[in-house]
Symmetry: C2
Subunit: 367 residues, 2 copies
Amino acid sequence: MQPPDPLDEWKSPPFDPTVRGDDIFARGAVDDKGQVLIQVKAVEGLLKATGKLPVNVKFLLEGEEETGGEHIEEYVKTRPPRLKADAAVVCDTEMFAPEMPTICVGLRGLVYGELVVEGASHDLHSGVYGGAAPNPMQAIAEIICALKDRDGRIQIPGFYDRVTPPAEKERAAWASLPFDEREYLEKEIGSIALVGEPGVPLFERVWARPTFEVHGIRGGFTGEGAKTVIPARALAKISLRLVADQRPDEAVAQLTAAIKAATPRGVRVEFNLLSAGAPSLTNPDNPFIRAGAEAMRKVFGKDTVYIRSGGSIPIVGVFDRYLGIPSVMMGFGLPDDNLHAPNEKFHLPNFYRGIESVGRFLEILGA
Amino acid sequence: MQPPDPLDEWKSPPFDPTVRGDDIFARGAVDDKGQVLIQVKAVEGLLKATGKLPVNVKFLLEGEEETGGEHIEEYVKTRPPRLKADAAVVCDTEMFAPEMPTICVGLRGLVYGELVVEGASHDLHSGVYGGAAPNPMQAIAEIICALKDRDGRIQIPGFYDRVTPPAEKERAAWASLPFDEREYLEKEIGSIALVGEPGVPLFERVWARPTFEVHGIRGGFTGEGAKTVIPARALAKISLRLVADQRPDEAVAQLTAAIKAATPRGVRVEFNLLSAGAPSLTNPDNPFIRAGAEAMRKVFGKDTVYIRSGGSIPIVGVFDRYLGIPSVMMGFGLPDDNLHAPNEKFHLPNFYRGIESVGRFLEILGA
């Protein structure tokens, strides 16, 4: 789960779930407490209705997905017998559009860390020392700009080498999804324009291309008014999203080398890795994926579409690597659910359809 | 006076003056409560000793110097008769070195403001939107890097046009000051190297060249751990130091235009000016400057040196502009007094010699 800040932008307290209209608002409402509950309720419903389950079911619950998930990896790695299964069901993704059943077959990986820059031994007066003393805030800006150009293309040597472009069939399917880029810009993003690599279609930019982002910069003076300080130290939170077949370890090594090469004179720089998770990509022809699609089709009354997600769910890569099983990502969130942001919500009708979909999925597998 | 943060780096409370050895520690100890008190104590001493003053003295005390000083400018501008004088004495600078009487004849001006960048209408998940949504933190980095190159040279068009290089005589005097650049690096700054425009001597870089600095960047997530947010909004505190004959209004216009030109796609940018003060430069042959130098020579027993300061004291430019009078900048701070930083101090022997110097200065003028 993500931290709730900025707290003052929540219309109701983040940890006091509040229903307004057809939505329930809370931190984690849809990502991912609400979607975990879908699986629990589906199993409960089948047991109540029939007294038994159509297939064997194991639950694996963990609460570290947003903070790297290192411990679950160790757990899965060391307990394959206990976790033996034919497939996993992960409810942590979203529907492409309202009323459109959706299965996610690809995820981006994530490398997240802190860039720490040290200049002088103590904060300095910019009048007395400006022109001679290194400024760690400026150094961070210079490193960030060296890592990504103004077009959004990452400048880390070798970084794109393993990026697999989507198949032409996948590109064609994405292009035929019902989607209005202007509406997306205005309603979902609300900026004056979209950005990203020129010439690359939107879905490819957010699902199938890696990214570099800076999430926050700490240091110096940011209060009201003016303080003319050259801070001794500054820190930036940065991340890379990875796509198949990029490897987290390799990306970290490339990033670290690029930071070193971009470090300006006068400062010391360190990159502290906080988490690293692999991207994943599943073939939609897998029988478990097909069963999930069929279950959702029945509940929603419409054909299920296959998409990817730009987000990261490290457990999917971990299941693949250590258990050799595919993950069926049946997701019931909506694009405007405010994931990771204030006023996160879950659309309650999707919560109930999610329970029914997971139940039917188990029935189809048992049949 | 500057804010006291970061508070946790103070060895004694910033607003509870504490004497350790020959120094008194407090926010404003030397910049500038202690130095203001020098003038009060000098006048008090003369009155106690002789019952009268050798020349007429007026005090003008204001407390906004660190936050722009707009009100004092209005006050001086509208009350020249009340403030009529032949010269001003300003104690707000420092000695070039311990035991070395120093008069400052040049100051840098300061333009300080906030760069506000807005992207999306709300914070976004970098997995879902990374590759399509503009990132205001990245935009700030790009603008900052466009304003100053990696060599420290400001890239604002027209910005250097009015910069007057120091006279050869002044350059020669600076080169002969007792100064060890390695010691300055190690003891005063404490970074691994000095920075700034290549080929420009140190004193020229900090006294006679303009600078651009970023003091802090607010926005996004900077707490412990990882939050993969693309912030909707970010803000940077930035400043320019100006040198003679740069004009604050012109510099603000140039900066604003350069920010606009450097603004990347997808974001809205605003520059909010917080303060603007002119640089100043006085001829050392002025009789009041000479009287100040003579007074300090007598008290310290050594010839007074003329330097400039890289800092900004807006009142000096205001006196020059509206009253047409020179300011004698007799300063008693030391280079390691931690101005604007935690553990600011005033070396007490200099406090007492300052009182004596100002008293003698008034006596010389009266003789």
